[in-house]
Symmetry: C6
Subunit: 235 residues, 6 copies
C-alpha cells in the first residue's frame, strides 16, 4: 500500500526534489502557506475533502495541498466552486496573517491565477454571476489538441467593465471568507504548520483530527460532500 | 421499428455511455435539468414538438431532450426563435428552482452559449431587435469548409453597447418566461424528473400526457406548429 | 424565345429547385415577401424596372424578384441608390404587415445585409451623407483576385459613432418609405401574392398592370428611368 | 506632333474605350463633372495649369481632366496642396449644382478618396494643420516594393478625434471654395460642358480662353505657378 | 585632405545628385530651410557643433546640415536632446518666417518625423517628462537583425492621452525656442541663405563667423560641448 | 582566488571593454550613477547585500553594481521587491541630484524598464497592490523556449487605468525613498563616486565601511537579510 501511495504521488504531483535547499525562513513561509490551504479545505462544507499536505518540493512546487473527492464527478455546483476559491486564497492569507502584509511572497502567484481563471469561467461560461444566464467571449480552440487557448472578446467595453467587476467580487468574497476562517481557527493553523515543519508530510486525517479537537465537531461531520479537483500547490 | 429508432438515436445523439458512473445526486440534477427543457418544449406554442427525453449519457452529454418538427422548414419565425430560447433556459432554471441558486451547476454552460449565440443572430443578422432592420458585423467564413468562424466588428463601441443590451434583453426575457412556465407547472416538472430517474427514457407523448392531465388541455392542442431544431443537451 | 428566357434565368438566378418541399405556410410567407419587393420596384420612380418575380426556389433562394434596367449604366445616382434600399426593405415589411411583427422570419437576412452594405458605401465611399465629401476606411484588396475584402478602420471612435448613425438613418428612412408604399397599395400586394401562389411566376408587365389598375396611372408612367442591379432574393 | 500627343495620352491616361455605351444622361453628368474639375484648375492661382479635358472613357475612367505643371517640382507648398483639394472637389460639386443634391453620383468616389488621403498627409506627415509640427502614425512599408501600405496608429483616441476633425476641416474648406468658384463662373461651366458634349476633347488653352472672355482676365494671368500632379479623373 | 573630405561626405551623406533640376524658387526654399537648421545648431549651447551645410542634393535629400561632435559619446543628456529638437524645428520655421505660413512645404516631413520619434523616446524610454521615471510600451525587436521595429502598447488609453500630450509639449517647446532664435538672428539667417545660393556649400566655421560678427560673441564660446548626431537633412 | 573572481565576473557581467573611450564628463556621470545604486543597496534593510561596484565598461554596460544574496532563494517577499525597486531608482536619482534635472541621461533607460516590469508583475501576477489578490493578463509563452513573451490583455480599459495607476504608485514611492536615502547620505555618495573615479572597482565591503563611518552603524547591522538578484547595470 505504501508503494502504491508513493507511485500515485509521483504521478499526480511530480517527483520529490529534496535537493532544493530552502532556508529555514522560506520553509516556515511554505509551511504556513500550505497549512492555510489545508485548514480551509478541512473546514469548508462544499470543498473537496483534504487528502494530504506536504512541504517537500515536488516538480515546480515548493509544497502541495492535495484534495481528493469521494467519487468522480461530472458537473460542479456553484457552492463547490465558491468554496474552492476560498481554498485557493488560503495560502496567501496565511502568509499575510502570520508574517504581515509586507512579507507576502511571490509564491501565491499560481493560486491567484487559478482563482482568477475560475472566477472568469463562473462569470463568462457558466452564468453564475450578476451578469445573468449569458456567455461572454467566443472560445478559440486549438483543433489539433482539443485544448482551449483563449476567449475572443465579442462584447463591448461596458460589458468588459461589468465582467471585471464580477470577477473581482467573486475573488474578494472568497478572500474575506478565507480570512474569517483562518482568524477563527488560528491555533489550528499554527499546529498544522508546526507539524509540517517537523514531519514534512501530513495525512488529511491528521488535519481533520486537529480541527476536530479545536472545534469539538466530529471528523465525519467535517468532511464535506467531496468533489474532484487538482491539488493546490505553491510554486 | 425499434432497431430504426435505435440507429437514428445513435446517429443524431451519439452512442450511449452507460459506463459513466454518475452519483445519485448528479443523476437527480440531470433529471431535473432535462425535465426543465422537456416541460417547456411541451407547453410553449411555437417551439418544436418534444420527441424524446433521456438521462442516459450520450457522447459528451449527460442527458438529452430531443425536439422534432412536424416537417422540414426553410426559414424560422421570430416567435419560434423566442420560444426556443425559453426551452434552452429551462434546464438551468429547473436546477435553480429545485436545488436553489447556490446549487446551479456547470452543466448548463452549453445551453447558455447556444442561447447567447441565437440571440446575437436575432440582433445582428436577422433584424429582430430594437436595433432595427440592419446587420452588424461582417461574416468571416473559412472558405474551404463553408463554416462560419467569427463576425468581424465593423461598428462603433456605442453600437456594441446597444447590441450587448439587446442580446441581454432577449435572453433575460426568455429566462423570465421559463421561470413562469416551470413555477406554474411545478408538479409536472417533479413527475417528469421522477419518471426519468425511474425509467431513464421518456417518449415525448408521455410528457404531453402528463401536461395534459395537469392542465386539462388535450394533447393535440399542446403540440405547437413544430419546427426542426437540434436537441437540447446538457454536457 | 422561351428557350432563351429559360437559359438566361438559369445563368442569372441558378437552377430551379422544385424538389424543396416548402409547407403551405412557408409558401405564403415567400409569396408575400417577394410581392413586397416587386410592388415597391414597380411604384418607385428611380428603382430599376421590375422584370420578373417568382416563388420557385432557385440556388440558395426560396424566391426571387428580378429587376432589369433599360440599358447598361456606369454610375449610380443617389436617388437610384435610395430607391433600391426601399426595394430591399420591401420583403421584410410585407411579412411584418401581413403576418405581424412576431412572425417576421430569418428569410430577410440577406436583404438586410445588402441594405446595410449599400448604406455603408453611400456614407464611407461616395460621400452621400451628412458626414460630407470624405471617405472613411482604407480598402484592403486581395491582389490576386481583385476582390475587395474589408475596409480597414483609420478613423476615431467618435467618427465610427457618426458613421453608424448615418447608416442607420439611411436604412430606417428606406424602411419608412417601404412601409408607406405597402400600406398605400395593400390590395395590390395581396393580388401579387395570390397570383404568385397560384402561378408561381409573374412577368413584370403583369405586376405593372395590377398597379396601374389600382392607381389609375398608365403603365408607361410607372416604369422609372431603369438601371441595372442584381435581383432581390430571399434565402 | 499629333502622334506624340496620342502616344503620351495613351501612356499617361490609358487607352481610349470608345466602345463604352454611356447613355445621353450619363454623358451629360460626365461632361459637367469634368467641366467642374477643369474650370477650377483654370481659375485657382496655385493649382497646376490645365492641360486637357475629355469625356472619352480611358482605362477605368469615364472622363479625364489633365493638369501639367510648367516644370518638374521636388516639394509642394501648402497653398498648392490646398488648391489641388479644391480641384478634386470640383467634379462632385458641378454634379450637385447642375443636377441637384439627389442626383450626385458614385462617379466622384475616387476624387473623394484622393482628397481624404491628401488631407491626411497634410495633417499627419507634413505638419500643415492646427495639430502642429508633429507626425502621427508610423509608416509600414513593404520593403520589397518600396510602396507604403498603411500607417500604424501610435497615438491615443483623443488624438485620433483631433486628426479626424482637422482632415474634415481641410476637405470642407476646399468644398466651400469649390462651390464659390463654380457659382461665380456658372456660365463658363455650362460652356465647357456643352463644348465637351459636342467635341469630346478640349485643350486647356480653350478653357482658359472661355474663362478669360467671361472674367476679362488675360489668359497669361490665369495660369498659376504650375506644379506637377496626376490628372483628376472620374471613374 | 580634400579627397578625404570628399570620400567621407559621399559615405555619410550619399552621392551628390547635381542633375536634379530644382527651380530657382525651390532652391531658395532649400537654402533657407538648411540655413534655419545651421543657424540654430550654431547658437544653441548643448547641440552638436555645426560641421557643414549644403544645398547640393545628395541621396534622397535636397540639402543637408551636418553636425559633428567633438568626440564620441556613449550617453545623451536631457539638455542635449532638447537642443537637438530645436535644431530639427529650424528648417520648417525658416520657411514659415521667410515665405509665410501658406508656403511651408512638404520638405520638412522627415524633420518632423524624427522630432516626434525623439520626443517619444524621451517620454517612453528615458523617463524625461512629467510622466516620471517609468517606461511605456514593450519593445518588439526583430531578433535576427537586432533592429527595433515597434513598441507594443501595454498601457491604458488614459496613459496614451498623457503620452501624446507630453510628446506634443516637448515638440512645441522646441518649436517656440527655434522661432525665438531665428527671429533674433534673422539677418544672419539671410546671410547664410544668400551664401548657400551663391556657393552651395558652407563650412561650419564660416557660419560661426557670421554669427560671431552679428552677436559679438567669439567663435570659441559659440561652440557648445559637442556631441555626435546624424545630419539634419531636408528631403 | 583572484583568478576565480576574474572568471566569475567575466561570466556574470561580460568581458571588460577598457577600449571604450568615455570622456571625463561621462566617466563622472557613470561613477555617480553606480554610486547611487551601490549606496542604496548598502543602506536598505531588505535589498540583496552589495557585492561589488565598477565603472569599467562590460558587455553593453558602461558600469555595474553587483548584489549577491547570502544564499539561494526560491520566493521573494514584497518588502524585498520594494527595496530592489529603490535600488533601481538610485542611478537616475544620483545623476539628478548631482548634475541637475536638465542633465539626467539616457543611461538610466534600462533601470527604468526593469523597474516598470517588476512593478507590473507585483500588480498583475503577484497580487501585491491595491487591486487585490487577482491576476491580470494572460501569459503567452513561447512553448519551444519556455520563455514568456507578452501578456495578453483580457481586462477592460477601466481596469487598465487602475493597473497603470498602481504601477506608477509603486515606482514613484520607490523614487521618493531613493531620493530620501541619497539626500541623507550625500557625503557617502560623493566618497563612493570619488573612489570609483580613482580606482574603477570597489568591493562591497569598502562601501559598507564608508556607510558605517558616516552613520555610526556597524557593518554587520547594515547587511540586510540578503536575496539573489541580477546586478543593476547602466547601459
Amino acid at each position: 500500500m505504501v508503494d502504491f501511495e508513493f507511485a500515485k504521488d509521483k504521478v499526480m504531483m511530480g517527483a520529490e526534489r529534496r535537493s532544493l535547499a530552502l532556508s529555514e525562513e522560506e520553509k516556515r513561509v511554505v509551511a504556513y502557506h500550505e497549512a492555510g490551504h489545508a485548514l480551509i479545505a478541512a473546514v469548508l462544507p462544499n470543498a473537496d475533502p483534504l487528502h494530504k499536505v506536504t512541504i517537500i518540493p515536488r516538480g515546480l512546487a515548493l509544497g502541495l495541498t492535495q484534495q481528493l473527492p469521494a467519487e468522480d464527478r461530472y458537473m460542479h455546483g456553484k457552492s463547490y466552486l465558491q468554496d474552492e476559491l476560498v481554498v485557493l486564497m488560503g495560502g496567501r492569507l496565511a502568509e499575510q496573517i502570520v508574517f504581515g502584509e509586507d512579507h507576502i511572497t511571490t509564491g501565491a502567484g499560481n493560486d491567484l491565477e487559478r482563482a482568477t481563471e475560475l472566477s472568469r469561467k463562473m462569470v463568462c461560461e457558466w452564468g453564475m454571476s450578476h451578469l445573468g444566464p449569458l456567455t461572454f467571449g467566443k472560445r478559440e480552440e486549438a483543433i489539433f489538441l482539443g485544448k482551449e487557448f483563449a476567449r475572443h472578446q465579442d462584447y463591448s467595453e461596458a460589458t468588459a467593465v461589468e465582467i471585471d467587476s464580477e470577477i473581482k467580487r467573486l475573488v474578494e468574497t472568497a478572500f474575506a471568507r478565507a480570512k474569517e476562517a483562518l482568524m477563527k481557527h488560528r491555533p489550528v493553523l499554527d499546529k498544522i504548520a508546526d507539524a509540517l515543519l517537523e514531519r514534512e508530510v501530513l495525512e488529511g486525517e491528521e488535519v481533520y483530527q486537529m480541527v476536530s479537537e479545536h472545534t469539538g465537531v466530529p471528523v465525519d461531520k467535517l468532511k464535506g460532500p467531496g468533489r474532484p479537483s487538482p491539488s493546490t500547490e505553491i510554486v
